[in-house]
Symmetry: C2
Subunit: 215 residues, 2 copies
């Protein structure tokens, strides 16, 4: 099991960095989309959004075998995967101390390509993270679809996690300013389910969709 | 004004790529946090979340002068800034066609450091993007705070924007499967405002905070 090392150490605002795996897992398990770094042969970096899931001591994500960038990741290129969840706006009396409430996890390393049963299990894990109950209900990938998909596993060896919470932290000399200060919370919610226009008649919205609330 | 060029061309799902600046601006103006790529001297990439705002033909974001990674960006390192907004889960009959509704903008290039009046104007632009009305109400940055802050400007010269929307796109042979299909929409909302525990008595929640709804 990994621990944060020097190159992921937070040099500013160290009070916000957490060092326990449970905090890392909580952030990774609460997110649905990560941003992954990969660069091309000319050194140009790209930041690509991916759906993902944590599976034990790794983060799994998938992409197309037709993508140069994903093939580069499958070949073991150094990468960074970051998950950021926004929880609110922090309105301090000074703009300098104003910020956001957030939870952010950063994982450094090289990913490995999953194959065979591990690949299918990885896809199931990602699917069940995004919509629990869907894997056994929907049509699972066939051989051709599996061949078109790369499933990558990035181990949780080197990581950092930061959580910003609590009230504004204004300097003492600003506390008397006639400026309202506080936090405006932010939430992600799922709204209505809209059936496909070509839905086969007689199919009801499944309970696992109707009742699901994200973590 | 920039246009997408080859290295940001979408090779898969080309129907999702838009080529007009208005679509790019709409995505950038709707987001609040971007993920920015930067690598260290060893070539290790990092993906860092930043608050940002679009200002005309550039994206502005800020960081600490104490951060090696931000100093590297200020020095003109190649970067990629990506904004991703999630709008829903697409539940197709097949897991292969299942995906997300999203809007994503990617900007490639090198950022420049802003100084003097342009730096203050940049901070105002970011602040007003995140909470309109706050800049003239809160205490603006003093000389020491400005010196601790880097404001970077990334021109909108090379970019791509992708929007995924609409119903699930299942293959014809899957349409008769007894599987519910559709879209579960997702929203970000602001909730309650919580005053700082040390708030000076008699200060009401400002109207610009109470009535503000994100784009």
């Amino acid at each position: 099991m990994g621990t944060p090392v020097n190159r992921t150490a937070v040099r500013r605002l160290p009070e916000k960095q957490l060092h326990d795996r449970a905090s890392l897992d909580a952030v990774l398990d609460a997110g649905r989309v990560a941003h992954v770094a990969v660069h091309d042969d000319d050194g140009q970096p790209y930041v690509v959004p991916v759906g993902y899931a944590r599976a034990g001591d790794a983060v799994l994500f998938h992409g197309s075998t037709a993508s140069r960038l994903f093939r580069s990741l499958a070949g073991g290129a150094s990468t960074c995967l970051t998950v950021t969840l926004l929880d609110g706006l922090v309105l301090a009396r000074s703009l300098f101390e104003s910020s956001m409430h957030y939870r952010s996890a950063m994982v450094l390393g090289s990913s490995q390509m999953l194959d065979g049963e591990a690949k299918v299990a990885g896809l199931e894990r990602i699917s069940e993270h995004l919509m629990p109950g869907r894997w056994v209900d929907a049509r699972q990938p066939n051989r051709k679809e599996l061949a078109a998909t790369l499933v990558l596993s990035l181990p949780l060896d080197e990581w950092s996690v930061k959580v910003s919470e609590g009230p504004p932290d204004d300097a003492a000399e600003d506390l008397d300013l006639p400026v309202w200060a506080g936090v405006l919370s932010q939430h992600e919610t799922y709204g209505e389910a809209t059936a496909a226009p070509d839905l086969r008649p007689g199919l009801e919205l499944p309970g696992y969709v109707r009742d699901w609330t994200p973590r």
